[in-house]
Symmetry: D2
Subunit: 144 residues, 4 copies
Amino acid sequence: MKRDEAPGRAEFPLFETITTRWMDQDAYGHVNNVEYYSYFDTAVNQHLIETAGLEPRTTDVVGMVVDTQCSFFRELTFPEVIEVGIRVAKLGRTSIRYEIGIFKKEDPRPAAFGSFVHVYVERESMTPTPLPPHILAAVEPLVV
Amino acid sequence: MKRDEAPGRAEFPLFETITTRWMDQDAYGHVNNVEYYSYFDTAVNQHLIETAGLEPRTTDVVGMVVDTQCSFFRELTFPEVIEVGIRVAKLGRTSIRYEIGIFKKEDPRPAAFGSFVHVYVERESMTPTPLPPHILAAVEPLVV
Amino acid sequence: MKRDEAPGRAEFPLFETITTRWMDQDAYGHVNNVEYYSYFDTAVNQHLIETAGLEPRTTDVVGMVVDTQCSFFRELTFPEVIEVGIRVAKLGRTSIRYEIGIFKKEDPRPAAFGSFVHVYVERESMTPTPLPPHILAAVEPLVV
Amino acid sequence: MKRDEAPGRAEFPLFETITTRWMDQDAYGHVNNVEYYSYFDTAVNQHLIETAGLEPRTTDVVGMVVDTQCSFFRELTFPEVIEVGIRVAKLGRTSIRYEIGIFKKEDPRPAAFGSFVHVYVERESMTPTPLPPHILAAVEPLVV
């Protein structure tokens, strides 16, 4: 995706704030591409824990990540604080496709934009299972 | 991408070996999805450092990651040793699109498959620049 | 060190706030011990970048970490926000010994307490060099 | 500890091999100090999983890290492969104190040397508990 085509701040219903870390930077002195995905994972799970009451240690039904993607538009550097926009692009029977924008403070355009797909499975059997009601309730307001 | 459609071992001309780490695992007790991208980045840079003589601390021309993607098919757990297959799907004037397969030992099918695009830029100006000859020489044998 | 002997909040002149991440947690479902050191490194470097104007990409004089230590008293779990207390226990001619406390929100006692020693060196020769004036000015107020 | 005082290769009964990663390097272009502790944690847990049959997902008795320390003597850079020496300096009723040396290939002197203390607890109550027999059997040969 081209930077000019990526959705702006107004197109995300929810933001989570993440502090960058010294170690996020690689030998090129900028935040390494891999870390952006840790921001994706952190923002989505933070919402699910705080809003849906997800308890990762004990839950029998787990959202497994089956597909992720990211386009990178601008460098980030430590100690920037970033704002992670989250929206739900597709809500299936057993899966959720999130779209994520990574924003620098006061920048209306994203530094990166990507997607993140969870399929819900029973932890033991790894069999897909319908989205649990508490998860559904937490993500429905994010559908765009 | 479906697991059955992903390329097998024979379709990768080069493999790098990576040892997993205790910390790669998240609260679900498997390697977190983010880490797969660190395997991508590690395998590609290892090839460029060892074969093209890339010197990250001093090079004026840098491969910037502009787009990455990964489909996840099977869980990995520590202390598995993994083999990372690398091939070049597209060689442009200023960019390289790698495709990467993550394989468990003795498994002919990948646990994950994704892509990784480098655009070469002058470090100071961030202006795209033609692929340097030493990089080109190192990646041409990987074109499929 | 025993938890009861570790310094409380009032004994730290400066705090930096850090958001935990999903991936900080290991297979035991708590923040992995290794991450605490990334909080140390992040808090100290954030202070030096923001207060001393440290520019890691270009500086010729670098603080090399020569010794670190941490005692762990309480588990942390994502998505806790933590507060990292920093003080300077010893200011030498070429080195700084920081002491760091990791605090949960509203907890007067630290979840962990440790130390972190920087020796300043010329980047090229790796020879110890006196603390630069801008670094000295940034850390003197933290001496206890 | 001074580099010259640190134990050499011959003083470690066991070694685990770890591949460094691109992202281990920070903005100074060398492996960040934090990563050394991930090598400690990885080497010890690899031994316990492979030799003691530790199953982190299901075990009721867990080794909690209560204290770690590291002295850094030499820089490491990606893509070095490192060898992690492990020995047991103290075997208590409920705890194990490991000492760890990080070695570059073919270097008899360590690049770093540190310690790592596990206290065994019942996972639910977090109460210290005697070392389980399978753990004891795996670490007794490492006592020096």
